[in-house]
């Protein structure tokens, strides 16, 4: 399946994704095969249901939150590019400035973008503010046991 998946990926796409996300070629093909195996509908895009089918994610208390992070506002499909863009937030920070391409702007895995991504995980209604409720909702999902700790927070 992997080979078939990667064959569906055109070289120029790979190059573009590489530039955008900083993933290496092999990582991209590997992730593409993963993407493809998640894509049960075979329509080149993942729906929430596709994500929810991952068994480990079902038991993850923050699973829904993560899944949501893959979907841009108002959409319920994510294509491979979007998939990669989200994942790129999780690449380690590269401190070497020389790789920085002034034209491409800040890489997705910069500290700022990571922070922004984390922020969005908390910002449920996407109003660029984390309200108290939103914070609580994230926290209470972390673990049942964590809930009680909320009163320690303030």
């Amino acid at each position: 399946m992997g080979s078939r998946a990667s064959s569906l990926l055109r070289e120029e796409d790979i190059e573009e994704i590489k530039k955008q996300t900083g993933f290496s070629h092999s990582q991209i093909t590997r992730l593409y095969s993963r993407f493809h195996s998640l894509d049960k509908g075979e329509n080149g895009a993942l729906s929430r249901e596709d994500f929810q089918r991952i068994p480990e994610l079902a038991i993850n208390p923050l699973g829904d939150r993560i899944i949501n992070a893959f979907f841009p506002e108002g959409e319920d499909q994510v294509n491979f590019r979007g998939f990669m863009r989200t994942l790129a937030h999780f690449r380690p920070v590269e401190d070497n400035e020389k790789n920085k391409d002034p034209t491409s702007g800040e890489p997705l895995n910069s500290r700022t973008n990571k922070l922004f991504f984390a922020f969005q995980l908390y910002d449920l209604d996407r109003d660029d503010k984390i309200s108290r409720d939103e914070l609580l909702q994230v926290l209470e999902k972390v673990d049942v046991e964590q809930k009680m700790s909320i009163r320690f927070l303030h």
Binding site: L31, R34, S37, L38, F51, I54, E56, L57, I59, N60, P61, L62, G63, R65, I66, F70, L87, F90, P92, L121, R132, D133, L136, V138, L139, E140, V142, D143, V144, E145, Q146, K147, M148, S149, I150, R151, F152, L153, H154
Partner: protein, 968 residues
């Protein structure tokens, strides 16, 4: 002080002299690899005259108490050996006590040495203790040598490996920060296995090369000898690393990597050592290729086998401690025994004992700590630390002593110098290479500074020394030279590097450990990040570290914890555990400094009536009297009038309860007041109080976990929100409860009738509201929770109503309420600094205090609630009503009350939010009604309301208290 230590030295010297003889006598021959003479009594008899021959010692003996018996002992023992004489009135039974006596003396010497070192603060900060101990050992050794003309005493490998090392490793393993350890396991393993191999081979081969070049050694020394030496000298030593690094306080990652390496390299060292020994024995010519593979296989078996043995013992230990509820007293013993057995068992099968013990400690810690009682935990902790500390002291002293005897070693400058150089160089090169490799995979790379520290922190120590002493001189011709070199290497690393590592750390600005516990906030977010990373790994289809840890956690949760944790503990989360600990500790500290809290922080509150008079008043009673509150009078009455106990207690209870409802500091004051009034009996009271705490916690434990916890936490959260409302007026919460209230309330009665089969749920809920419910069934405190709940569910089946006195007994009900109260405080206090926390809570209180209005608006709802709940309630209500009346009579000075409404809201809010959880919640709801019904009266007279809440055992005390925490 110098005189003291001199005296000490002399004592020690005489001890040591007797010691020599003992080691000769008492240790089994196979352990006696050191050069101690194997002859027993002859040694003694030969030895003692010599000793006498030395005037200094004899003098010292007459002056020093401990010394006197020892010489006499020596005499008598020789006497015994010669067949003894007639009947003596007083006999010196030295031979009878000698072994324990000498062990005890050594321990004493070591401990006293420690005390002496820590006399001078400035000195100890500059010089590591291990250096001082080695120096002391050197001096002692010199004294002994002068005294006896020979030094038959050494760090005995048998003693070291069977007793001294396990205590240190056991302590290290048991208290190993597991998360940190496993997070860095890859790096640790890498350094431990690859690094040690690299060091061993490079050092061995290069030394051999130097020998071939003719710089060192004699013709007889073969390649195998050098490889053997390289193997034993290359292993970083856990004892030395611990001793030095614990004083340096480098950051945790650095420490865990170096320390973990020093523990885990044991397998490599053991295998290499054994393999080379066997190679040396058969001779290099007879070693076939297969033997190398055997060596590799042996490494796998030794390391994995050792780990498995450790884990098996960890499981056994955890499992055993599950059933020690009735025999708490021997819990610590189990811990020590099984951890030690893990070591011995591994040793028995010649597996890696250190690995075994380390993993036993790491593995069992979580479960054992959860299973055993708080006291046992403390015992285990202190005993382990004490033993480890003493063992460490003895090891270093003996290292020093054994270095003195020139007959044991032979000097070869070339060997010593080249060994030192190779060790340092290869360590540095190895660390750099491995780190370069590791940094490919590490999210947080190891910086240059870390690498320098890791290279420099590669200390050699007693393990290497014990191993080299263990060598058979017949087979390893260069043993004496190796011993000398090892001693120099150990001394150099421990003393020179140990001395310079602190300045180096400062100079390089190595990140230090903060010594700060992560806040709960940090912990929560760390958890959140773990989950996020796991989720991303799952999405990306990676089976990375987080994936496996998640898997393990699931496994642990689903199977291991069920098997190994006591049922009552199983559902208790770590956080809850921590909470409980903090609770207990803070409760104790609150009581301890009850008076202080009262006078200092609390008095500065604006709402306090006559705050100004406070500062001078340390006595609570006085303070109260001055303020002229009814409370004070009540207390006085109670103090003075011994009769009419029940009423008095009732009154006290009301007073207390009334205070509970006031702003927080009031609370505390109440506490301290309570305890202050008791005065002389304080101690007893504290005990009672603690027991209450424990009872309560036990009841928590026994209740079913999940639901209960959910409920509780939810309530807490809601509570906090509700509190917020007062100040910040959040719309969300209000809406939620308002919407759903009506629905919820009607359901309550139904629940009661139909759900007698759900006591568990009720139980769960009850926990939060212990205090409130307790009053309903005041009979026995511990059981109050469930009992009360039962009552709630089926009023018909209510337990035989307690006698009036019982019901009203402040203590019966009060117990329920008091502990929660404290716990509440504790939660508030959580930021460890009591005072600070206190101030914080005060400020929050003040903010809360400003809007007193809230109760009114919410009132209607409350009353409806109460109405609905009322009918069901009837039986209990009557009683509670009585209680209320009595309460109101007693004292009214308690002050304004803001809580009831908030409380109701909270409950309703919870209900509305979690419909499926409603039944349990209902029960909790139940209690409130009585107070609510009286709300009208209350409004008029807040005090009364308070009282009723409190006295009506169910609703009063418990609720507000349980809420309190939420307020935070």
């Amino acid at each position: 002080m110098r005189g003291l230590s001199l005296l000490l030295f002399i004592t020690v010297a005489s001890d040591a002299t007797t010691d020599l003889y003992v080691t000769g006598a008492s240790l089994p021959p196979e352990l006696e690899v050191s050069a101690a003479p194997a002859v027993t009594s002859p040694v003694a008899s030969r030895y003692i005259p010599e000793e006498y021959g030395h005037p200094g010692i004899a003098l010292a003996r007459s002056a020093e108490e401990p010394a006197a018996p020892s010489t006499e002992d020596g005499e008598s023992s020789s006497h015994h050996h010669h067949g003894g004489g007639g009947y003596k009135i007083v006999q010196w039974e030295w031979s009878y006590v000698q072994t324990p006596y000498i062990i005890a003396s050594w321990l004493l010497v070591a401990s006293v040495a420690k005390i002496l070192f820590h006399f001078s603060q400035r000195f100890t900060t500059a010089v590591p203790e291990s250096c001082m101990l080695i120096l002391l050992g050197l001096v002692l050794g010199a004294v002994v040598l002068i005294a006896s003309k020979k030094q038959p005493y050494q760090l005995d490998p048998g003693l070291f490996f069977l007793f001294l090392l396990p205590t240190i490793v056991g302590d290290a393993g048991y208290f190993m920060p597991a998360r940190l350890f496993f997070d860095n396991l890859g790096a640790i393993l890498m350094y431990a296995v690859v690094g040690t191999l690299w060091n061993a081979f490079c050092t061995g081969f290069c030394l051999y090369g130097v020998k071939m070049a003719g710089a060192i050694g004699e013709l007889l020394w073969g390649l195998m000898d050098f490889l053997l030496f390289g193997a034993l000298i290359s292993a970083v030593d856990p004892v030395a690393v611990l001793a030095v690094f614990e004083e340096v306080h480098v950051n945790e990652t650095l420490f865990i990597i170096v320390f973990g390496e020093s523990l885990l390299n044991d397998a490599v060292t053991v295998v290499l050592y054994e393999v080379y020994i066997s190679f040396v024995e058969v001779g290099p010519g007879n070693v076939y290729t297969a033997d190398y593979f055997k060596g590799i296989a042996s490494f796998l078996i030794v390391s994995i086998g050792g780990t498995l043995v450790g884990l098996i013992f960890a499981v056994i230990l955890a499992f055993v401690t599950r059933f020690t509820k009735k025999v708490r007293i021997i819990e610590p013993l189990f811990v020590f025994l099984l951890v030690y057995l893990a070591y011995l068992t591994a040793e028995l099968f010649s597996l890696s004992a250190i690995l075994s013990m380390t993993f036993c400690g790491i593995g069992c810690n979580k479960y054992v700590e959860a299973n055993i009682s708080q006291k046992s935990r403390t015992t285990v902790k202190y005993t382990m630390k004490t033993l480890a500390s003493i063992a460490e002291t003895i090891i270093f002293i003996f290292l020093g002593i054994s270095a003195v005897d020139k007959s044991k070693w032979a000097w070869d400058t070339g060997l010593v110098v080249s060994t030192l150089i190779f060790i340092l160089v290869f360590r540095a090169v190895g660390v750099a290479g491995q780190t370069w490799f590791l940094n490919w995979f590490r999210l947080v790379p190891l910086e240059k500074i870390d690498q320098v520290m890791m290279s420099y922190g590669g200390l050699r120590g007693a393990v290497a020394f014990a191993l080299v002493v263990l060598l058979d001189k017949e087979q390893v011709k260069a043993k004496d030279y190796f011993v000398a070199t090892t001693i120099v290497v150990v001394f150099f690393t421990v003393m020179f590097q140990g001395l310079t590592i602190k300045p180096l750390v400062k100079w390089l600005k190595v990140p230090r450990s903060t010594n700060r516990k992560p806040t709960i906030n940090e912990e929560i977010h760390e958890h959140a990040f773990d989950h996020i990373l796991t989720a991303v790994e799952d999405i990306a289809g990676l089976n990375g570290y987080h994936h496996w840890r998640d898997k393990w956690e699931q496994f642990d949760k689903n199977y291991l914890s069920k098997l190994l944790l006591r049922k009552s503990v199983y559902h208790k989360s770590e956080l809850w555990e921590a909470y409980q600990k903090i609770n207990i500790r803070d409760a104790i500290s609150v009581i301890d400094q009850g008076g202080n809290v009262l006078t200092s922080a609390r008095l500065s509150l604006p709402s306090m009536a006559s705050r100004t008079s406070f500062p001078e008043v340390t006595n609570v009673t006085n303070y109260l009297r001055e303020n002229g509150s009814g409370v004070c009078l009540d207390l006085q009455v109670i103090d003075t009038v011994p009769g009419a106990k029940i009423e008095e207690e009732l009154e006290t209870h009301h007073v207390l309860a009334g205070n509970l409802y006031k702003p927080r500091r009031r609370y505390q004051s109440h506490y301290s007041r309570h305890f202050m009034t008791v005065g002389e009996k304080e101690r007893q009271d504290r005990e009672v109080f603690q027991r209450n705490m424990h009872n309560r916690l036990e009841s928590f434990k026994s209740t079913r976990y999940k639901r209960h916890k959910k409920d509780r936490s939810q309530k807490k959260r809601k509570g906090s929100d509700a509190k917020e409302q007062d100040t910040s007026d959040k719309p969300r919460r209000n809406v939620s409860w308002q919407d759903k209230d009506p629905v919820v309330v009607p359901m309550a009665p139904e629940e009661d009738k139909h759900d007698p089969s759900e006591p568990d749920k009720y139980d769960d809920v009850g926990i939060t509201f212990v205090a409130r419910k307790a009053p309903e069934t005041p009979k026995e405190r511990p059981k109050s929770v469930s009992a009360a709940l039962d009552v709630c569910q089926s009023p018909v089946a209510a337990p035989p109503s307690p006698t009036c006195g019982e019901k009203n007994l402040p203590w019966k009900s009060g117990m329920g309420s008091l502990p929660p109260c404290v716990s509440v405080e504790a939660t508030k206090i959580i930021p460890i600094d009591l005072q600070q926390a206190w101030n914080q809570s005060i400020s929050s209180l003040e903010s809360l205090a400003s809007p007193p209005a809230p109760p009114e608006p919410q009132h209607p709802r409350v009353s409806t609630l109460s109405r609905l709940g009322g009918p069901v309630r009837t039986p209990t209500k009557g009683k509670s009503g009585g209680g209320v009346c009595a309460a109101s009579g007693s004292d009214t000075g308690s002050g304004q009350f803001r809580f009831p409404t908030g409380k109701e809201e909270e409950e309703e809010g919870t209900l509305s939010q979690q419909p499926q959880e409603m039944q349990p919640l209902m029960s909790s709801l139940r209690p409130p009604p009585p107070p609510a019904t009286q709300s009208a009266r209350k409004r008029r007279n807040p005090c009364v309301y308070l009282r009723s809440l409190v006295t009506v055992p169910p609703s009063g005390g418990g609720d507000p208290q349980s809420r309190r925490p939420t307020q935070l």
